[in-house]
């Protein structure tokens, strides 16, 4: 039986080897090639569906993403929120803790912000309300994130499945509170909160910030730089990397693995809470069960595609948001269903995921001689 197996492996004309020596520019070339290939495939699909010429199509797409100042700002806002959540999940991923519960952590952070704005908005001075909004939403996100971490640290509970379930518990909690706090009894919609005194609104005066997105973008830009240095230049960032590489090495080096897991998930959850606050207090001024809109899942892809590097994440989140807005425009112009953008996003992600293989591995020809001697 062993001989049969040996023969089968050595008769293959190709074999796959891990490669370590690929220059950075080459790996980026492969990634760009993958994006271009996916765009071509998407174009073919769109043409089959709409019978329109491809150049016209991409013009529509660019028009949809950056066609007017308002759209540019909306694009940047979209990038900022997605980037914020991607930053949040990154330290956990680097530690090989699969936090796919960002969706829930964002929602609970947003729910915290909503609660403060609704319940205290008219009884405390506005600056105090804003401060409370910030503290409470960060705290809520952190708590939601740390629960699975505690169980992972002490009982090795599967964190992927745990965080996944926490998402739906969070979504149901939010829909519960949208009923409780709904503006008109029973229609489960919370109207814009504190329109009169703007208590708890995270905003700059309209003279500086016309569309109301600037502050969000600035906050996330600062967070991106901070996260970069935290991961690459701090002791804690190093500990995260070691735990991610091998838990046994970490233990041997005297790192308290339990502490690192819990601390990292506190940070991860807290940043998701920030994203929830940016959405509720910084943009929407209300909450629905769909406030996070699947970004908690997209963020995982963003972070992974950028190889957990916060600076590259700016690019990957820009790419995904750009394609989403562009595809949305195509579907409106050509009267297609808006879910079209999900298909486009899916195809692009498949291509980029697939291209990683060619970066990490190379396919080598098995030499005829070698095959014979073995």
């Amino acid at each position: 039986m062993t001989s049969a197996k040996e023969r089968s492996t050595h008769e293959k004309p190709f074999h796959i080897v891990k490669r370590t020596d690929l220059p950075v520019w080459k790996s980026w070339l492969i990634r760009i090639a993958a994006v271009v290939a996916s765009l071509i495939i998407c174009a073919v699909i769109i043409i089959l569906l709409t019978d329109d010429n491809p150049i016209q199509l991409y013009a529509t797409m660019i028009q949809g993403a950056v066609g007017s100042p308002r759209r540019v700002w909306a694009l940047l806002q979209g990038v900022a929120i997605l980037l914020c959540i991607s930053l949040a999940v990154t330290p956990a991923f680097k530690m090989r803790f699969w936090n796919i519960g960002a969706e829930g952590q964002v929602l609970i952070g947003g729910l915290g912000a909503t609660a403060v704005m609704l319940l205290l908005g008219h009884s405390l001075p506005a600056p105090v309300v804003l401060l409370l909004v910030i503290v409470v939403s960060i705290l809520c996100g952190a708590i939601w994130g740390v629960i699975p971490a505690i169980f992972k640290a002490f009982w090795n509970t599967n964190e992927t499945l745990f965080t996944l379930m926490m998402n739906y518990i969070a979504i149901q909690l939010v829909s519960y509170f949208t009923y409780i706090w709904s503006s008109n009894k029973g229609n489960n919609v919370i109207n814009t909160i504190n329109v009169d005194n703007h208590a708890g609104w995270l905003e700059l005066p309209p003279s500086i910030d016309r569309y109301g997105y600037l502050l969000n973008i600035l906050i996330v830009a600062v967070l991106t730089v901070l996260m970069y240095f935290y991961l690459n230049n701090s002791k804690q960032g190093y500990e995260i990397a070691v735990v991610g590489e091998s838990i046994n090495t970490a233990k041997y080096a005297g790192i308290n693995v339990k502490k690192v897991i819990i601390r990292t998930m506190l940070i991860s959850g807290a940043l998701c809470g920030v994203a929830g606050m940016l959405l509720v207090s910084g943009t929407d001024h209300t909450i629905t069960p769909n406030t996070a809109a699947g970004r908690g899942f997209t963020a995982i892809v963003v972070s992974w595609l950028a190889k957990f590097n916060p600076l590259f994440m700016v690019l990957t989140s820009l790419l995904l948001v750009f394609m989403e807005k562009g595809a949305l425009e195509i579907s409106t112009v050509f009267g297609l269903n808006s879910s079209f953008s999900d298909i486009i996003t899916g195809i692009i992600i498949f291509f980029i995921i697939g291209s990683e293989f060619f970066i990490n591995y190379s396919i080598k020809r098995t030499h005829a001689k070698e095959a014979q001697t073995k």
């Binding site: 197996k5 796959i16 739906y168 518990i169 995982i300 595609l305 269903n337 879910s339 999900d342 996003t345």
Partner: protein
Amino acid sequence: MIVSFIHRAVMQGIPLLYGATGEIITEKSGNLNLGIPGVMYVGGISGVIGAFMYENSLPDKSAANPFWAIAIPLLCCLLGSFLIGLLYSFLTTTLRANQNVTGLAITTFGVGLGNFFGGSLIKIVGADVPSITLSTTSKFFSASLPFAQNLGWFGEIFLSYGFLAYLAVIVAILASLFLKRSRVGLNLRAVGENPATADAAGINVSRYKYLSTCVGSMIAGLGGLYYVMDYVSGVWSNDGFGDRGWLAIALVIFTVWKPNFAIIGSILFGGLYIVHNYLNQLIPMNMSSQELIKMAPYVVTVLVLIFNSMRNKRESQPPEALGLSYFREDR
């Protein structure tokens, strides 16, 4: 009322049972396919496309042939979900991509595909019908035994479903026997627990991963088909399937990776999904508490997950290599 509650719970549970059985078979090979919600959407919409094409090709709807009315959607559904399973296996097994990322991308893609074709199918094929209503074909899917109505409560609880419901139970039992008793099932579990050891024992790890993921996807896809063709009588509505795919993944954990437990578990989850409608009749409730009750399946799943990890019993753990891709040279 209890009888009708059980009847409705079973109908809610069947898609979950298909999803969970498919996902269990997939996960036993070490592939954590988080794309199951997407797969179920694709299964549903593929069946719808097949049925839609068939119905539109008929000159007279009353002349529909029962065999084709069932076979065409069924085959389309199996083909659609097979292709998605193949895509997932190719990316994770051959290209060794990260399973979580691939799975989530599949979910985005699959749900998008379902909603897109659900919303644009009529426009694309240029049919002059107002909405996708497949009452002709769905009639064959939901046909139950003719004498079921005469048997009172017994008939309603056990005999009143379309054939796909019974198929779900049969598939779950077969899957359970396959995993527990057959040689191939044992090999499959070995691949999921420790692929390196399985490889050393002469098991073709990639082939097992491919096969189990594709078969698992096809089974899960049937859940989508059951939902649109039987449960909602052939009327597609976008996002109508909701979060049932995730509930199916929850069910996998709840039943500790055992398809035979999933039969009972799916009815329980199905019951929890609709219990608020019935509780409402006993004790008047407001809308808000219904939302809390809908949370129950997820809370229960988390508790089961915690309980099992604390007890640390070998039989109730996830497959050891779940979520990891296997590369022979990494050993």
